[in-house]
């Protein structure tokens, strides 16, 4: 039920009037006390952003620059405050990332700047800000969105990190491939009890959970793609680093298992229609390491094939895998020192960093491509559950 006395929609101008003294109450109810898992579940995606923008439009309409500044400062500080308090909760961070981006898109879409008005309806053009140019505030909001994005990545990493080694390397799903443990290797004891061990399935479930939360919050599709690419980078980097440090992970059968796991991750991307987001490419070093475990490593021709295949791996990484390679049965052999020297000679002219391990903390730069909305501001109604009955639709 709308808060206000029903009026014909065409009578509204898509603004929300509020008293100056209600500003703190507005951000308190709409930002600080809004639970993404409670009331917010049933809201239209981005509703808090639209409400804040409609309040801002009214402050602009009455030509009150102090009110515009104050509302923007109050909004930005409240978002920062809630993220300080609940920054480890993926849902909260995702919710405010999508709303901050929507607010930023609104500031562009209704700025009156031609470049952002191309997709506007006539009515939307009528709703552009009349008195103030908020370009500088758009920059501040974009900085804020970058901070929130980085927080989202950290949050996601904290959840994903403990699953990766277990799910991508240790847990074996292909039956009968590595029933025999490499001679002389004991099963590495894990700190996680068997029943608590993460599998590839756990990783896929977690990826789906992240994806579904972001979709539910109306996160821009282009932004979701960047998050997924970063998730895949972390999975690939952590897996490869562990492979490079563990002899028991460098066998023909582990290569097989890793390739199977990678194919499942690719299948997940296909299911979510995310094949073109660059995520698969971030797994390339891991894919090549897995191939390296499986190819023949004896003749000069093998060396040549390896050098042309492993373009995403550094010489240090290739040599390390070859040194760690452990035969599983009597039909296989260790890699000879001569073969490794041949590889080193062939690769000596490569210009690359000598770094062995991948930087698991690296974050790709994020962008927020403009994504205008077709939603008509004058049709927006405020659910009573938001406790904003002090706002008046204008």
């Amino acid at each position: 039920r709308p808060v206000n006395i029903p009026r014909r929609e065409k009578d509204f101008q898509g603004m929300l009037e509020y008293k100056k003294e209600d500003e703190l109450k507005l951000v308190k109810n709409l930002i600080l006390e809004l639970k993404p898992r409670g009331v917010a579940v049933n809201l239209i995606p981005g509703l808090p952003a639209y409400i804040l923008f409609m309040c801002l439009r009214h402050a602009d309409y009455v030509n009150d620059d102090q009110r515009v500044r104050s509302l923007l400062t109050c909004t930005i500080n409240s978002i920062k405050k809630i993220l300080k308090k609940r920054g480890d909760d993926f849902e909260t961070v995702s919710f405010w990332l999508s709303n901050t981006c929507r607010f930023l898109h609104c500031l562009k879409q209704y700025s009156g700047d031609d470049q952002f008005m191309k997709h506007n309806s006539t009515k939307q053009n009528d709703h552009c800000l009349s008195n103030f140019d908020l370009a500088e505030y758009r920059q501040v909001l974009s900085d804020l969105a970058i901070q929130i994005y980085q927080q989202l990545i950290k949050c996601m990493e904290n959840i994903l990190q403990p699953m990766i080694v277990s799910g991508m390397l240790e847990h074996e799903t292909i039956q009968g491939v590595s029933g025999v443990k490499p001679t002389g290797l004991r099963k590495r004891t894990s700190s996680i009890a068997d029943e608590g061990t993460y599998t590839l399935e756990s990783i896929l479930r977690q990826l789906s959970a992240f994806h579904s939360i972001m979709c539910q919050h109306g996160t821009d599709p282009e932004l979701i793609k960047q998050v997924v690419k970063q998730q895949f980078y972390i999975i690939g980097a952590v897996t490869l680093n562990n492979l490079l440090l563990r002899k028991d992970m460098c066998s023909w059968s582990k290569g097989m298992q890793i390739r199977y796991n990678v194919s499942q991750l690719e299948e997940w991307l296909r299911e979510k229609n995310l094949m073109n987001c660059g995520a698969k490419e971030t797994l390339e070093p891991l894919i090549q390491a897995a191939q390296l475990l499986q190819v023949k490593k004896k003749t000069d021709e093998d060396a040549e094939a390896i050098c042309s295949m492993c373009k995403a791996l550094s010489t240090a990484q290739i040599v390390k895998v070859l040194n760690l390679y452990t035969p599983l049965n009597e039909f296989e052999e260790r890699v000879s020192v001569t073969f490794i020297r041949t590889i080193q000679t062939r690769l000596r002219d490569r210009m690359e960093s000598p770094q062995l391990l991948m930087d698991t903390k690296m974050i790709y730069p994020v962008t927020f491509p403009f994504n205008p909305s077709s939603l008509a501001l004058e049709t927006i109604q405020i659910p009573t559950s938001l406790n904003l009955n002090f706002l008046t639709r204008v």
Partner: protein, 31 residues
């Protein structure tokens, strides 16, 4: 379209850091 061709006034914005310094939640935050 806007009723007049009057240009919009550019509002100078503080940085994120400066905004944080104008603590709007002072009363609430103090112990």
């Amino acid at each position: 379209p806007r009723p007049s061709s009057r240009p919009r006034v550019l509002l100078k914005a503080p940085t994120l850091q400066e905004m944080e310094e104008m603590n709007i939640f002072e009363e609430e935050d103090s112990p």
